[in-house]
């Protein structure tokens, strides 16, 4: 099992979600985060006081999938989230040691 962690632009969330559903990924956790990579922040000005805001709002998705589905999920995310401009985001893959469905107690792949 692997956890796919993707940081994408917030307005792309729905497109990515639909693409993952189409790719057979049935569960997802989403959080609102801030971050930066090569995309620099913005300058805000309030009555002459300037503030350099370094962090840009993003959305982080986490999905745990079987090893066989990892490649398909990554491609689904990448195709849906890309705009071609700086700040599109990144996808990471982490190893998952175990999973449990709370309602039934099922383990491993059966829990996904």
């Amino acid at each position: 099992m692997k956890m796919i962690v993707a940081v994408v632009k917030p307005f792309k969330l729905d497109d990515v979600r639909e693409a993952l559903v189409a790719a057979g990924v049935e569960g997802l956790t989403v959080s609102e985060v801030k971050g930066y990579g090569r995309q620099k922040g913005q300058t805000e000005i309030y009555r002459g006081a300037e503030y350099q805001v370094n962090f840009v709002p993003k959305v982080k998705l986490e999905a745990v999938v079987d090893d066989a589905e990892v490649a398909g999920a990554i491609e689904a995310i990448r195709a849906a989230a890309a705009t071609g401009k700086i700040g599109d985001g990144k996808i990471f893959v982490l190893d998952v040691e175990g999973a449990v469905r709370i309602r039934t107690g099922e383990n491993g792949s059966a829990a996904l």
Binding site: Y46, G48, A49
Partner: protein, 446 residues
């Protein structure tokens, strides 16, 4: 033999004449002294409404305007300043404020006969507003007395102790606002000389702005100014607050006619035109200099226009209002944004830049654009540009100078006493962590 209802009407008239006779006799220089007055229901209805509109300007107008501009950790504390000031000022006004400001015949202060409003009965009428009940006049003036010190909160945002703030409100009302209100409106020396301040350009705005400047200097700068991100938490609140201020201000300016008549109508028109003009001129100045028209800028411009037209509203025609508005937006933009940066004092929410500078500008432009055709009884000699009365300019400068000097001196003394008794500034830890949780035990979640 008189019919019983005629007899009763006669008795009521005699009682009414006796009740108003005493205060009328005390005041020498009021129009209509000694003449019987009649309560006008149209005037009373308008003044009842105006009082509510002006109260709304403070809560929640000013409260939201300021609270939206501070960081999230200080929102509740900022709201508590407007709200708490409203409650404190109401009581202090009742106890002694109204008496000092609007009764008696002294040149500098009124008298102390109206302590706890004791002489004010159901049928009392003030000679300063002869066609409405005194209850309504007192209440209307109370709402002005509430917003003036509450405005000062803009300068002391993010760093003042709440106990010191409430005491400051009470002391400032009695020692600064009430005498100045008496000088200009209550029968005192500035009004008697002929200085023109229709709804409080000097009494309210220059006054509060000057106090704000002194307070900002005495409290010192916020920790982290220039390095920490102090961006407004929620400018949507500020837009809501500014909008409530704009609408409420018709009670402030048109209500200062004290009657429901042609003066109120012209004051309303002047207010609307100046405000819109100032919002646009601040927006234009900012668009040119900073490349983008900010929302904070356009609402600040509107407030600057409201401030500047305040002393002029009942004396100028629509064209004068237009010029005053355009000037206010540009001058206050430069004062609040560029001059403040150059000098470096921390008037956090631009109490001096908008209210102080705007009030002084408006007072001086009142002298330029006042027209005796617009207000023959209030400005019988008119102003400089329209009526050729350059002497009015001297009076306006006197008004501005006297208010600035007295307010600065006494505000400084009040804060000095508070500073060396209970202390006025919160500790560094409290300031870093936030006022909401430390002063009030509450936070805004989410």
């Amino acid at each position: 033999m008189m019919k019983s209802h005629t007899l009763r009407r006669l008795a009521e008239t005699i009682v009414a004449a006796l009740t108003i006779g005493a205060p009328l006799a005390a005041i020498a220089q009021t129009a209509g002294a000694g003449a019987p007055t009649k309560i006008d229901s149209g005037d009373t209805a308008w003044m009842l409404t105006s009082s509510l509109l002006v109260l709304m300007m403070t809560i929640p107008g000013l409260a939201l305007f300021y609270a939206g501009m501070v960081r999230k950790k200080n929102i509740l504390a900022t709201l508590a300043q407007s709200f708490g000031a409203t409650a404190v000022i109401t009581i202090v006004w009742m106890v002694v404020g109204y008496s000092i400001a609007f009764t008696g015949s002294g040149a500098f202060i009124g008298d102390f006969k109206y302590i706890l409003l004791a002489p004010m009965g159901l049928n009392s009428v003030s000679p300063l507003a002869p066609t409405i009940p005194e209850t309504v006049y007192m209440m209307f003036q109370m709402t002005f007395a509430i917003i003036t010190p509450a405005l000062i909160a803009g300068a002391l945002a993010d760093r003042m102790k709440y106990s010191a703030f409430l005491l400051f409100m009470a002391a400032w009302l009695v020692l600064v606002y009430c005498p100045i209100a008496h000088w200009v409106w209550g029968g005192g020396w500035l009004g008697a000389k002929g200085a023109l301040d229709y709804a409080g350009g000097t009494v309210v705005h220059l006054n509060a702005g000057t106090a704000g400047l002194i307070t900002a200097l005495m409290l010192g700068k916020r920790k982290g100014l220039g390095t920490e991100n102090m961006a407004p938490h929620n400018l949507a609140y500020s837009v809501i607050g500014a909008s409530l201020l704009w609408v409420g201000w018709f009670g402030f300016n048109a209500g200062s006619a004290l009657t429901s008549n042609v003066n109120a109508g012209m004051a309303m028109v002047a207010t609307q035109i100046a405000t819109a003009a100032a919002a646009l001129s601040w927006m234009a100045a900012e668009w040119i200099i900073a490349k983008k028209p900010s929302v904070l800028g356009m609402v600040s411009g509107a407030v600057a226009g409201l401030v500047a037209i305040t002393p002029a509203s009942g004396f100028v025609d629509p064209r004068g209002a237009l010029v005053i508005g355009v000037a206010a937006g540009i001058v206050c933009y430069i004062a609040a944004v560029h001059v403040k940066k150059m000098i470096g004092y921390d008037d956090s929410l631009d109490c001096w830049g908008v209210h102080g500078v705007g009030g002084a500008l408006g007072a001086i432009m009142t002298g330029m654009f006042a027209s005796k055709a617009i207000n023959p009884s209030g400005a019988p000699k008119g102003g400089w540009l329209i009526d050729g009365n350059i002497g009015q300019m001297v009076l306006q400068f006197e008004d501005v100078g006297a208010v600035f000097a007295y307010c600065a001196a006494v505000t400084f003394l009040i804060l000095l006493v508070l500073k060396y008794t209970i202390g006025i500034r919160v500790s560094d830890e409290v300031e870093m962590e936030g006022l909401d949780i430390n002063l009030h035990g509450e936070v805004v979640h989410g």
